[in-house]
Symmetry: D2
Subunit: 344 residues, 4 copies
């Protein structure tokens, strides 16, 4: 339940409501909006009786939040969350391009690709240092060496960087070296890692699990927010179905649904969804048109030699084509900003 | 296998190849392209030895067609099929809007909606006369009376009309009264009906089955084409998955894959895919951006009173909004044509 | 809604209730049980007010039937339906083995296999005369010739026979020549064919659609029953999922659910579910243990030469093994009966 | 690839082969079978040339292992792995019953249920101390207190105990207090945790991921084995599909496939698969008949009051019924053993 305070409510009145909530054995969470303050009642089992709270001074109304998620809920926070990463803003009216190779393979490779994608308008660089691989015998990433290369890429190009962490220990390092910590699809319900992410001082990019409902995905984000980290970026990357013409089935209706249910930004990773280069550009256009706040795509200078997932990486020229094809779909303002980034 | 004739090949030489194919116990199908003629070898089990055909006069080359579909295959027909319905062209560089209620309920209802959607740029009217309903106790459509109303709509508005046929008998009537015969998702592998559709003198709109792979879907189209009807329009309408936030999961990567594999036009029905009004507009934008040749959407003047599937029908104002939102995604030419239709 | 008559109710009182129901614009369906008669109210939209019926003489109570299915519902008919085919009883405490090739290929082939499976305890012979094939170029079955062979098999062996009909016309012939008419998975929601099946004088074997929920499946059976044919046998044959180690995923929990929801018999076809010979025996055991009323399996004397689906057909020796392995899972009575059939 | 040594090969010859493998940059893994020793070549990318190894003294043959899994593969180890837990043997011809509540709630609750299930033939007690919950606000388990209760249960009843660990830290504690460490479905591809499990001195019960293919599941087991822990028990617990009559769809054909592909034991958890009490008994029978090496079921003395997943827990009387119903499906030896456990 949400206790909404009058716009004239004093800090003292707010504190009184918090005390009253805690007295009932619940957890109170104060959410200060632009105009008014609301107080979420958390950790209640079953429904909460609003009566005692409605009588307190400064309380305007109470809103039952029937959905199991609260902090991620649009009902709790009407305005879009904007995740700020350096001077890049993710969410709201902004559109962001994240690009880079599946895995960081060497400093030369990373820097070459980073400069290429920056020239075309990308403002965040992606690249795996720790790779979740189905086989224990596959290339598992360069580890900390990869993180150092990512830090070098940021230094040299000014791009922010994002990479995945697979456990607590990696999370410590990723938090230190990079700007956004990615939690992959396979770890979407790794609740221990979600709790750790909730304590991170960096934004979290949370991919949707391979067979997660939207509710489960939002609940995973709720884990992160409940621990205190409000900077969560959701990333749709396709779900597993019987269809065999693409690696996963990109579920674009997730975009309007997430935007309606939550205030968090949602981007799309068409590369992992499709798994095949030739579907990436049309699906990038479709994701943009469906209302995504951005795209995360794989680009490699030599896909044929990529140590991981080469068949889905765009060639630099295809990346340029992709950007050109999404330009008409963007808003005037998004387009201007993207083109500015391109020139700079 | 495909026997490709030289561009100088005579009719006699073509006939000779046909005879040679038939002599081997296969079926030959002559496909006249713009520049050259090709002859498909059908009903072979296992691979065909190209040697005897390569020796015949006028033969340029033979192309093994490894895919199980032949007539629908891009390998057999490089140029996009354009299905002509009245003065509406479906496929290639054209973009078509098909709109109307789920079910035809009355002449007034049909005419009201038809005029509304025509004013906004739709050029084909949809409306069910025979409804495939999960329950035998649900409204099953007006039947032939509904077909008569559809004919009246065409007469009054000039719009072409499309409606579904569930069996041979209905197919006879639908063929008589309307311009396009729809085969629904539940009948995608009703092979008897597909064979009947292959003999129809009207184009077929073939919806993808709820759990059909793209190959199965193209094979269903192959049934129709193998019986002689080349005017097949494919329609993606979502597939069944575990996801519960939309009625079906719209599989938009089907669009680039179908366009690569086949020369047939492919449109999208976001209404049945989503099942909820508020997802239809974003998914219409996404479908357009993914490269669909058109959209088929449900519009009702009073969705709350609709006898069937009211919760997914757009209100007239929402339909206008949908059209406005896809305009920037269309090509210059598509946009001009759509706006012309709107004004006229 | 269901109007339940007192066990002393006269025929006249029953007739009065029927009249009262029809006067309200509904359809009444009299269901005579062992002890008492109930009258189903069909074709009502929305809920029916029980008050006027409760006042009629002979009426004991009214039961609201919240599920969309009525005639197939356990609530309407407490005792298991037994479908009688010759002297074979399907449903209740009985266990039936249906076996034979995927497709009837010749009289010799059919008779050879029929004698083999009969010797092992099968009491119904299966074999396709009309084959629903993904490709129009694949073997489509022998047609009426196949039906004549099936009739011959029955004559020679005494086995009842079942085969699939794909449309009305075939249904007429299948009804004439065989004992059970099969409606295949791809036609589970071919409502026109279901209506035709409802008028047939032979029992219907209704396979579950590839992505049908149990409710949709029961509603398909409801179509058949609503037209007057109460002899419906349900057949689980696997559903389509992401899993790639079997052709379909056999959904055995459907068995307890169907048995709870409906009075109709339910059997399992492990051959089509698995698609691979080596999974058929374990899944036959599992289906039996889950409570199925019988099995339908494919057996071929020369699977390698089968014109259709050979890789899933059991060799005769494997069929014997299968029977031996399910024997301990059967009830004493089922086992005795099966062994008797074997010896005879 | 697998280098198979002659049965007369000396330790020195084996060591030579290992050296030769390592000289090529691969990892060698010596697998001592009953009759002969084989040496697996790991971490090769692409195929390995067998020629240099075939020339070494003591080498009998080389077997290419085309499957991506090696250590879990039946090709590498022909005889069934038997996981020994106290005096309980899991795998091969043995059948094991693991039972207990979803979550450990108190010492009284745990002991009560443990005694009940032991009396009926269970030989391992299950109970969650750390619960992976979709919501951060749901009961997350008693933590270390729960582990102490599990240790107490073992002490008092003699039953071995199994519980889930969600991360490295919990794994340390679970390893200390219990007999088997469970890795849950949501963590099946938590590769960091799999690596940790590979170093554990206790057996691992590895549940199948909600949308994992069998190959991915076996590869997850390969992670554990590649780190040195060969005691892996696989547990099928249903996969996510469109079907809505059970929580997940139990995929029983996984049993014959896993048994063919791997030497590891496979058990089934029908409770989490079904999610509803009334499906658990039939699915227990079906799992047993399909060839599972055991069952893991939830039993609660007061399901209505269970803090977690109460609707799927069997009542004690139902657990007895379940055992009684699987008895006829077991082999003579399994039955005898189970009944002995019951009486003792």
């Amino acid at each position: 339940m949400l206790v909404v305070m009058s716009s004239y409510a004093t800090e003292e009145e707010i504190a009184q409501v918090v005390t009253a909530i805690e007295r009932e054995g619940y957890v109170a969470r104060v959410i200060k909006g632009g105009e008014r303050t609301a107080i979420g009642i958390l950790q209640n089992r079953g429904s909460v009786d609003p009566a005692p709270f409605l009588l307190l001074p400064g309380v305007k109304e109470t809103i039952p939040v029937s959905k199991p998620y609260k902090l991620v809920s649009r009902e709790l926070e009407l305005t879009d969350t904007i995740v700020q990463v350096g001077d890049v803003r993710i969410g709201g009216e902004n559109f962001v391009i994240i690009a880079g190779p599946c895995a960081v393979e060497s400093e030369t490779q990373a820097l070459t690709i980073a400069r290429t994608v920056k020239d075309q308008g990308a403002c965040i660089f992606r690249g795996g240092a720790y790779k979740p691989r189905t086989s224990p015998y596959s290339f598992q990433g360069l580890g900390e060496e990869g993180l150092k290369i990512l830090a070098k890429v940021r230094e040299e190009t000014g791009l922010s960087v994002v990479t995945e962490a697979l456990d607590h220990e990696q999370c410590d390092l990723v938090e230190e070296y990079t700007d956004i910590i990615q939690i992959g699809a396979r770890n979407m319900q790794n609740f221990s890692l979600l709790n750790r992410a909730g304590k991170a001082r960096k934004p979290i990019l949370l991919k949707r699990g391979m067979s997660a409902t939207i509710q489960e995905w939002l609940m995973a984000a709720e884990y992160i927010m409940a621990k205190g980290n409000s900077n969560v970026i959701l990333c749709e990357r396709g779900v597993r179905t019987f269809a065999d013409h693409s690696r996963n089935t990109l579920d674009l209706s997730a975009i309007p649904v997430v935007k309606q249910e939550s205030h968090l930004p949602i981007i799309v990773d068409p590369s992992h969804a499709c798994g095949r280069r030739d579907q990436v550009i049309p699906m990038s256009r479709a994701s943009t048109a469906a209302g995504a706040h951005g795209l995360m795509v794989e680009v490699h200078n030599e896909p044929a030699k990529a140590l991981s997932d080469g068949q889905q990486a765009l060639f630099p020229a295809q990346f340029t084509e992709m950007i050109n094809e999404i330009l008409p779909i963007l808003t005037e303002e998004q387009r201007t900003k993207l083109l500015q980034g391109r020139r700079s």
